[in-house]
């Protein structure tokens, strides 16, 4: 046994082996974990004492070549070339499956620790592993861990930090020895870098099999492991059933959206009225006019426009996380594969599609789990049509303007309407996916498999931390933009190229307007809005909505905050944003947010691409500006066209 001690530790293993749970346990961080393959889509880094822990996407073999596996393969080869330590994480119940990958890692001859995860499930299924015997045989330390509950982590930390890790015995490395001018050169790493052809790979597989099978037989005693999957089989017969499975699927979807509305309505009302009172307080206590105006009409309404959506976003993230962790999302992939295939997508697209309900950015990154290049490009180009959390504030406000509250009932028209908008996003995604797939000339391959994880109880601590982190990210990312845009809007709204006398004269000419409304109309902001009015008038929007539309082109969540700021500047009598919108009238005294305008606006937001960050990530993932331009233009055309048709028919 050779020994070595290094500071960088790479976590390697098959997909869904629990690497990220272990990463969180070792580093004290809280990266997203799930119960399906492909949760980790990029390299994650954290600290354990003086060591750096690096978590990489799971991979099936060092010979495969899917995009996320290539990232991992490169990291592993790099780590081995620098003699960094690898912690190989294996699912105890799928040990033989993991041993193949371990044997490939062992042949890289870098210090390694073999961490056998989900040891609780092994104990439950009476699977006995001879730890000492296995350690001697493979030549490196073995640790039993349960990364979900933190069991065995201290022992693993001690192995990492206090003892010198060992380079494992080779398995098939000598097969790659080549004698060159009397010297033995090993070509194992070169072969991995260049990818083996199928005949060589089959040969390599068979040789490894011959070494690994005796190891399994000697050191792993299977008790009643056949019962390991029994519960999963039983549940799958119900959840994948053509009738019950479909009913459960649609009921789950419906309950998610009803819950988002029902459970968030009270805290949202509290936040809304709380900020209204805060604005009132600012008006009554701040004596400096401009400061009072800035705080009460820009800062507080802007903040309210972000914070009010915390309950809904937190509930949505919570429910999606629960579905992920119990293993149901993979069943949705199974159920929907045949259907999605008709549109050029597959069951693998379900996880990016569902993730898009939270945010298109991680969803687009998670398309790396799709091995088919054509399907991956189709998914990237269409995912932003799914309803992300930034659209939710716009939908919620406009639905609340159109429909009265649910009056305490769990099932209500608001939830149904929200579900309809989400479904519209799904339909648009599928139709566009079909079109893009039909006309795209990108190469396609048809090999496809889906791993169905066993059903597991959710890890509540992790779910709550995930919800907290995601909500915090939304608040801070959106909050920063909304705050800055709010300040710019306030300045533009409070400065005018016209004199005070001109404004007073205008107010005299139309006494129905307040002085604040006249000032806003003739401010720089008012002129900006009016300059784009001819373009948006056919959609039913006035210059105030135009300002909010332009302001939200960088990030769509800015829309509500902008409207909130504009109407606060103009009218302080109404306390909440919903009431302000309900009572807003056009120049002729008609309701501004009638069915035609509100629906036209909703449809504009269903289809338009108003997120600079998404465009940036599309560029990063596709590597080409032409796809970014195509996506922005087709979504804008779709948004404008549907809003135009809706308003012209309904008005």
């Amino acid at each position: 046994m050779r020994t070595d001690s290094l500071n960088k530790i790479l976590l390697v293993g098959k997909p869904n082996a629990g690497k990220t749970s272990l990463f969180n346990q070792l580093t004290g961080l809280n990266q997203k974990v799930g119960n399906y393959s492909g949760v980790t889509i990029e390299v994650l880094k954290g600290k354990l004492g003086s060591s750096e822990i690096i978590d990489i996407p799971g991979l099936q073999s060092l010979n495969t070549s899917s995009p996320e596996e290539v990232i991992s393969k490169k990291e592993i080869i790099k780590a081995a070339s620098m003699q960094q330590t690898i912690v190989f994480v294996a699912n105890a119940m799928q040990l033989f499956d993991s041993l193949h990958l371990f044997s490939q890692i062992a042949d890289l001859q870098t210090p390694t620790i073999f961490a056998i995860n989900f040891i609780d499930e092994a104990n439950k299924n009476k699977l006995t592993i001879d730890k000492e015997g296995l350690e001697k045989k493979i030549g490196c330390p073995v640790a039993f861990i349960n990364s979900r509950k933190g069991e065995g982590i201290q022992e693993l930390k001690k192995i990492i930090q206090n003892t010198k890790t060992s380079i494992p015995n080779t398995i098939c490395r000598s097969n790659y020895d080549v004698i060159d001018q009397g010297h033995i050169n090993n070509t194992y790493i070169t072969n991995l870098e260049n990818a083996l052809d199928i005949a060589d790979w089959e040969d390599d597989y068979t040789r490894r099999q011959k070494v690994l099978l005796p190891i399994m037989n000697a050191y792993v005693v299977s008790g009643k492991s056949d019962t390991y999957l029994l519960n999963t089989y039983k549940w799958d017969k119900i959840l994948l059933h053509p009738i019950w499975g479909m009913l459960i699927f649609f009921a789950t979807l419906y309950m998610v959206f009803q819950s988002v509305f029902y459970f968030s309505s009270f805290p949202m009302d509290w936040i809304d009225s709380g900020f209204a009172s805060l604005s009132e307080l600012a008006r009554n206590t701040i004596s400096i006019d401009w400061l009072q105006n800035l705080v009460a009409n820009a800062i507080i309404p802007g903040l309210s426009g972000v914070l009010i959506f915390i309950p809904q976003i937190a509930i949505l993230f919570f429910l999606i996380s629960v579905l992920e962790q119990i293993g149901y999302l993979s069943r949705i992939s199974f159920i929907s594969d045949a259907f999605l295939k008709k549109f050029g997508l597959s069951g693998h697209s379900v996880i990016p599609l569902v993730s898009s309900w939270a945010c298109a950015i991680p969803a687009i990154m998670s398309t790396r789990i799709i091995e088919n290049p054509k399907e991956r490009l189709t998914a990237i180009l269409t995912l932003p049509l799914m309803t992300c959390s930034a659209r939710l504030p716009v939908y919620v406000i406009l639905i609340a303007v159109l429909f009265p509250a649910n009056s305490g009932a769990f099932f209500g028209v608001q939830g149904l309407f929200l579900l309809a908008l989400y479904l519209l996003g799904v339909i648009a995604t599928l139709v566009l996916a079909w079109l893009i797939n039909k006309y795209s000339k990108v190469e396609s391959n048809s090999n496809w498999a889906l791993e169905l994880p066993i059903f597991r109880k959710p890890n509540w601590k992790n779910i709550f931390l995930t919800v907290f982190n995601k909500t915090k990210t939304f608040v801070f990312q959106a909050g920063k933009i909304i705050f800055i845009v709010g300040l710019i809007l306030w300045f533009l709204a409070n400065w005018s190229p016209k004199s005070e006398a001109f404004l007073a004269q205008k107010q005299k000419e139309s006494p129905s307007q307040t002085m604040e409304a006249v000032k806003l109309e003739y401010s720089y902001l008012g002129y900006t809005g009016k300059s784009i009015e001819p373009l948006i008038k056919p959609l039913g929007y006035d210059w105030k909505i135009g300002i909010a539309l332009v302001a939200s082109f960088a990030a769509r969540e800015v829309f509500v905050g902008t409207l909130s700021s504009i109407y606060s500047i103009e009218n302080n009598d109404e306390k909440t944003i919903v009431n302000k919108l309900r009572n807003e009238t056009d120049r002729n005294g008609n309701k501004m947010y009638d069915w035609a305008t509100a629906l036209s606006l909703l449809l504009f937001y269903v289809f338009s691409m108003q997120c600079m960050s998404t465009l940036a990530i599309v560029k990063k993932e596709t590597g080409e500006w032409k796809y970014v331009a195509f996506q922005f233009i087709y979504m804008l055309v779709l948004a404008y066209g549907s809003a135009f048709i809706t308003y012209q028919i309904l008005s």
Binding site: Q60, S61, N63, T64, M93, Q94, F96, D97, H100, D197, I198, W201, E202, Y205, T206, Q209, S225, Y228, L229, T232, Y233, D236, K237, L240, H241, P242, G245, F334, I335, D337, A338, K341, G347, N445, S446, N447, W448, A449, L450, E451, L452, P453, I454
Partner: protein, 75 residues
């Protein structure tokens, strides 16, 4: 070639893998090769997928791909 309808629910040994090289390497990535023992699980027709268990791992493969896997029943 298998007709997936004939080989539902049971334990099988893979005797041959046909089809393109990419399919073979794809299966090898999942440690499925000639000689592997697989269990075929409940797979509803509408899904057009065959659910198999290989070494305690449940994997679903499309019916048209599964036709390239030849196997014989062992239980």
């Amino acid at each position: 070639m298998n007709d997936p309808q004939d080989i539902r629910d049971g334990r099988f040994i893979i005797t041959a893998i046909n089809g393109q090289q990419t399919f073979k390497s794809f299966l090898l990535g999942h440690n499925i090769a000639v000689g592997s023992a697989i269990t075929i699980n409940y797979s509803p027709k509408y899904a057009q997928l065959i659910s198999i268990t290989v070494r305690q791992k449940i994997l679903s493969i499309r019916t048209e791909d599964f036709k390239n896997i030849e196997c014989v029943r062992i239980a």
